[in-house]
């Protein structure tokens, strides 16, 4: 692994984000607006619920919202780092350089970590000021959950890049659609028990389901959800490896069929 190669990818993306108002808005703007939306919904739900309700809706719903946003951001910044090369017709220069696929993926992941961490450090104090959300009350459990949402984002990001390599720039919509597709089945805002039994079995393979189910257990029962953390981590590792193999396969196919040139032509 050549760290200069990884840093090259990181450097290029950091520069873009640093001076682009639309990119800064994408990083901080959406999450701020959504925080208001979910915050007010949560406050309303809190007022219409039974007065002796044991559940802390603010902690439950807003924590889920923040972690889902971190997952989306991790995935989006990972995918957009690659799409940026496609949109600027620079992708041929990248693939003709000595950077290895693993280094490229590592560079994108690093961009994702930096952006997600920044957004997390930005939104949690705002959520505390506006809604008294003390997400840090979860203590050290927050670390494995945060790590897992990051890794889930990379897994989806790698697949999205593979689809763009295979189907061309018009497939960039997949980078935004896949997380949306996963949202209802990841039990982000409701427990897995609301799913029909068959869906409960099927969604077991989604790492995001275990992350959010585990978070709920930690918040509502105050227990350390070892099982959820273990399943989320194991499934994430499997998904990232499979995603990487998928991207590798798509790239090999693109080199055989000449699809890479299409990435600067479409």
């Amino acid at each position: 692994m050549n760290l200069l190669h990884v840093f090259g990818i990181f450097y290029r993306n950091v520069i873009l984000i640093r001076r682009s108002v639309p990119k800064l808005f994408a990083l901080f703007g959406f999450i701020t607006v959504e925080l208001f939306l979910w915050g007010f919904i949560t406050l309303w739900v809190q007022t219409i619920g039974p007065s002796d309700a044991r559940l802390d809706f603010v902690l439950l719903i807003l924590s889920a919202f923040i972690f889902w946003s971190m997952f989306e951001l991790s995935q989006r910044s990972f995918s957009i780092s690659f799409l940026e090369e496609v949109w600027s017709r620079n992708v041929i220069n990248i693939f003709a350089s000595p950077i290895k696929l693993g280094e490229l993926v590592m560079g994108f992941a690093l961009v994702g970590v930096a952006q997600t961490l920044l957004a997390f450090l930005y939104i949690t104090p705002i959520a505390f000021l506006l809604y008294a959300l003390q997400i840090w009350d979860m203590g050290l459990y927050i670390i494995p959950f945060f790590m897992n949402v990051l890794i889930s984002g990379w897994g989806i990001g790698v697949v999205a890049i593979g689809l763009v390599v295979r189907f061309g720039p018009s497939a960039d919509i997949m980078a935004f659609f896949i997380p949306f597709l996963l949202l209802p089945f990841s039990a982000v805002y409701y427990p897995v028990s609301v799913f029909p039994p068959l869906l409960q079995d099927i969604t077991f393979i989604l790492p995001t389901r275990h992350i959010f189910e585990g978070m709920r257990t930690a918040i509502t029962e105050g227990l350390i959800p070892y099982d959820s953390i273990m399943w989320a981590t194991a499934l994430n590792i499997i998904f990232v490896i499979l995603g990487f193999l998928f991207l590798h396969w798509m790239l090999r196919l693109a080199r055989t069929k000449g699809y890479l040139s299409r990435l600067v032509q479409d």
Partner: protein
Amino acid sequence: MGIVMTTILRVSDLTKQYDNLTAVNNISFAIKEGEIVSLLGPNGAGKTTTIQMLLTLVSPTRGNIEIFGKNLTGHRDELLSRMNFTAPYSVLPYNLTTREALKTYSLLYGVRNHRERVSFLIDEFDLGWMADKKVGQLSSGEQMRVGIAKAFVNSPGLLLLDEPTASLDPAIARELRAKILKLVRNAGGAILWTSHNMREIEQVSDRIIFLSRGKIIADDSPDNLKNYFGQKDLEEIFISINRETRARPS
């Protein structure tokens, strides 16, 4: 005793087949240290596909590519770090400044002293006034110049230039040709050059490889080719070959 020149690039029986189309058909050639070889041919002759196979952007269907004595398939990263290229279809990121783009590519090519290298290239290619301008704000000719400077970030031993002066005015093109030749010769490297500018090809090439419908139909020095085809310049050779291949059924 004569000087033995090292073979920098050896292409053997290289073929690229896309379904029913044979883009490159069993071509073989070699380029020695210090040599400048041009690939000429009409559109669709297989020049760009050949260059893209050398850059690992396209996998060959058959054949072998050896660069600096090593097989490209097994030593991709090592060999690409000793080569570079520029092509009009692959521009540098429009949203980076010239300096940032050169720094990014210095890093991607693993250049340790990237600051010094970027400063050297900015001076050498006279890019000072556009160093802090975004690539997207430059004219196509200026972008091409930055692209050529990028091709030197790693002091390549093998340079692949696909129509490098396509968007340049004649004065700048001449100046850049001289710079390219100087830098490559100083480094003891070699160049594979494609262009539709016959005068340029004649000026820079030690050897010219004519491609038509994916096949090599001639490989010799510009003077020998003129004698062989009985034409006064390369343009006439190009036109006659093009006419002949169009008339021939595929």
